[in-house]
Symmetry: C2
Subunit: 115 residues, 2 copies
């Protein structure tokens, strides 16, 4: 059994096209012995956003702190907040934005794409 403090997990500031003020922590992943499920925590600061993108694997999302906007394939925006969960299908375009003052934090859980 692995028991970790999220505060001790390295935080990676993401860079790349369409990414702004987003950081990632891999809370549980292959380094912990979890070869199938990877649980990442993303933080989007005020004015930041993930790219409008898709992957060929599904995402399970749990909002942890703050508020954000999620953009769907039709580019419609929906407010999302603590106490909400999302499912994003494989190959479905999506984006997260934070126009709010407080940092927006969510878990994004995926299957290991390398398997």
């Amino acid at each position: 059994m692995i028991i970790k403090k999220d505060a001790n997990v390295p935080e990676i500031n993401l860079t790349g096209e369409g990414i702004k003020l987003v950081s990632k922590k891999v809370l549980i992943g292959p380094d912990d012995g979890s070869s199938n499920i990877i649980m990442r925590r993303f933080k989007v600061l005020h004015g930041g956003n993930t790219p409008f993108h898709s992957h060929d694997f599904e995402h399970v999302v749990k909002i942890q702190k703050g508020n954000g906007m999620v953009v769907n394939e039709k580019k419609e925006e929906t407010l999302i907040t603590e106490g909400q969960s999302l499912f994003i299908k494989a190959n479905e375009y999506h984006q997260f934005k934070n126009p709010f003052e407080e940092p927006f934090e969510f878990l994004c859980i995926i299957l290991n794409p390398k398997k």
Copy 2:
């Protein structure tokens, strides 16, 4: 894309040998189109516990609210609290207990065992 309020998800009071004051919500699962990853939220009330048990699939756990005790294979107990994540291997015995006043809530993410 599915966007859900956790408050609207049915809460199931679990019964069975070794289970006391535990409820479950399937926040994201097959009914939402997620055939691989299942995200459940468990709540253990004061004095409650899950059974000391194992499964043949791994668990990724994220503490959401309150404090609890996790019991490992050697029956050693460790305090776990918000801001912590756990990985429990397949076939590893474990148990969650809540000796504290406040409800103890955690996410437990698994691969769909029916696949």
